[in-house]
């Protein structure tokens, strides 16, 4: 699995702002210990974030991605896999 670029976290931050109305720094987002709950993204917000990423990248992250990925790191890893490492 390739490493996740800062640019990808930047995109995730903009998706979280768009879908959840929450401003979060790249630094905090890319920290492995940070969870979506810590940031304040609720369960419906997770659904919206996952769906928006799928639209933007034209990928399928799987039906349970919003429940499975508790952290931004886990979600970005899944995105990385879905895009064959090209994120």
């Amino acid at each position: 699995m390739s490493s996740i670029s800062e640019q990808t976290y930047q995109e995730l931050a903009s998706v979280i702002l768009q879908c959840g109305g929450i401003t979060v720094s790249i630094h905090r987002l890319s920290h492995r210990g940070t969870t979506f709950a810590d940031i304040g993204v609720d369960s419906l917000g997770m659904l919206a974030v996952v769906r928006e990423l799928e639209h933007r990248r034209r990928v399928d992250l799987g039906a349970t991605a919003a429940q499975d990925c508790r952290t931004p790191h886990q979600l970005m890893s899944r995105l990385c896999e879905a895009c064959d490492g090209e994120v």
Partner: protein, 403 residues
């Protein structure tokens, strides 16, 4: 002894005024704030005049709540903030389970529903926000206020059309009597979108006048229906003892409430249900009709409903009681209309001034209408009236606290 429930905070969000100070300035001056609709292009709609709220949601509402709420709920959240600030109360409450929220709405989140349906048909189901699952619900405002402000006590939602704004205050009082320590109560509406207005056109109760000066003339021979408006009003309700302990000055006592249902297809033309609601409210308040110092009328500007209301007021109070309807200056905001009337009544008791009906050249009856200019008066007791489409009638007696 029965616990006295008092209003310690008032939070109006109305055309012409966000917050008690601005709202009072607008209504006490009797300004006409009606204008052509700008929320959408009303060109092909029979109704083109409305009362719109000038509202900067970005400034007043935290972003995370903006993305998941309808404009109605945003009004409600802002109104709750204003009411709590007015009451000098900062959530969370010491005991969140003793703090509750009761709100009402007639239209619910119609605008977000319209947007969601548009996206659904235009782009497909993948483009509808997951937050759509509750954004358009009538319960959304209660839910969001209770979540944001950690109010885990008695929460509820009423849907009784315009009567709801008064009914929530009665529910809040009941919750206080059952042991809640602080209640947020009120109404929120944002009905100025084609989807919300369209189902109302066939009933021909909305004014189709294109002239803001003459579009909404309740109790006038020229009455031609009401002008729709948006807005909210929230209140902080608590026991007199708690208010005293917190050092928050009670602005009004919720003295009596009566609600009836006439089970008709429109506004009850007989007025019987409204009269009974008035009698119940006055009896519950332990006062007599002659104790009422001012009546805030429902004022639909639908000729049969206006006639019924005038008959009720005359039969119970004679022709000497001052009657006003400040909403004639900014429109009828459905459930928020009566909540804004209650806010106007609280401020009226507080200032000793009756805000006027902006214009009423030829009244249909000889009641003592307060018209054109505010009237100074010794006000101890106010009666607020509201009727909903379908036969809901509500009457609320508010009293100035004894200081």
């Amino acid at each position: 002894m029965t616990v006295a429930a008092v209003i310690t905070g008032v939070g109006p969000v109305a055309p012409g005024g966000v917050g008690a100070t601005e709202f009072w300035q607008a209504i006490s001056a009797g300004r006409n704030l009606l204008a052509r609709i700008t929320r959408f292009d009303p060109e092909d709609n029979p109704v083109t005049i409305a009362g719109e709220v000038s509202f900067d949601a970005d400034e007043l509402i935290e972003h995370r709540y903006l993305v998941q709420t309808d404009r109605a709920t945003q009004f409600g959240l802002a109104a709750a903030d204003l009411a709590m600030a007015d009451a000098m109360f900062s959530p969370p409450a010491l005991n969140p389970f003793a703090a509750g929220v009761i709100t009402t709405s007639c239209v619910g989140g119609a605008e977000s529903l319209q947007r969601g349906l548009g996206k659904l048909w235009r782009c497909g189901p993948d483009h509808v926000s997951p937050y759509q699952s509750f954004a358009s619900s009538h319960a959304a405002t209660t839910g969001q206020v209770s979540i944001r402000d950690t109010m885990k006590g008695p929460c509820g939602v009423l849907v009784t059309d315009e009567a709801g704004g008064l009914d929530t205050l009665a529910h809040a009082r009941r919750a206080i009597r059952r042991g809640a320590r602080i209640m947020i109560a009120g109404a929120a509406e944002a009905p100025l979108c084609p989807y919300a207005l369209a189902p109302q056109y066939s009933a021909r109760m909305l004014s189709e006048s294109a002239d803001p000066r003459t579009a909404y003339l309740p109790f006038s021979h020229d009455a031609r229906g009401y002008v729709p408006a948006e807005g909210a009003a929230m209140f902080v309700v608590e026991s007199a003892a708690d208010a005293a302990e917190r050092g928050s000055r009670p602005k009004a006592v919720i003295s009596g409430h009566g609600a009836t249902f006439s089970a008709v297809a429109a506004f009850d033309p007989s007025g019987e249900g409204l009269a009974m609601a008035c009698r119940k409210a006055i009896t519950a308040a332990g006062c007599r009709p002659e104790d009422i110092d001012v009546v805030f009328a429902d004022a639909t500007a639908i000729p049969t409903a206006d006639r019924a209301e005038v008959t009720v007021i005359k039969s119970l109070f004679g022709t000497k009681v001052p009657v006003t309807a400040p909403k004639a200056g900014f429109g009828r905001a459905y459930a928020s209309s009566s909540a804004l009337d209650a806010a106007a009544a609280v401020l009226s008791l507080d200032h000793g001034i009756i805000p006027p009906i902006p214009a009423l050249a030829e009244p249909i009856d000889e009641l003592d209408f307060v018209v054109g200019a505010p009237r100074r008066a010794e006000l101890r007791t106010a009666l607020v009236l509201a009727r909903g489409y379908g036969g809901m009638n509500s009457a609320l007696v508010l009293r100035r606290p004894d200081h």
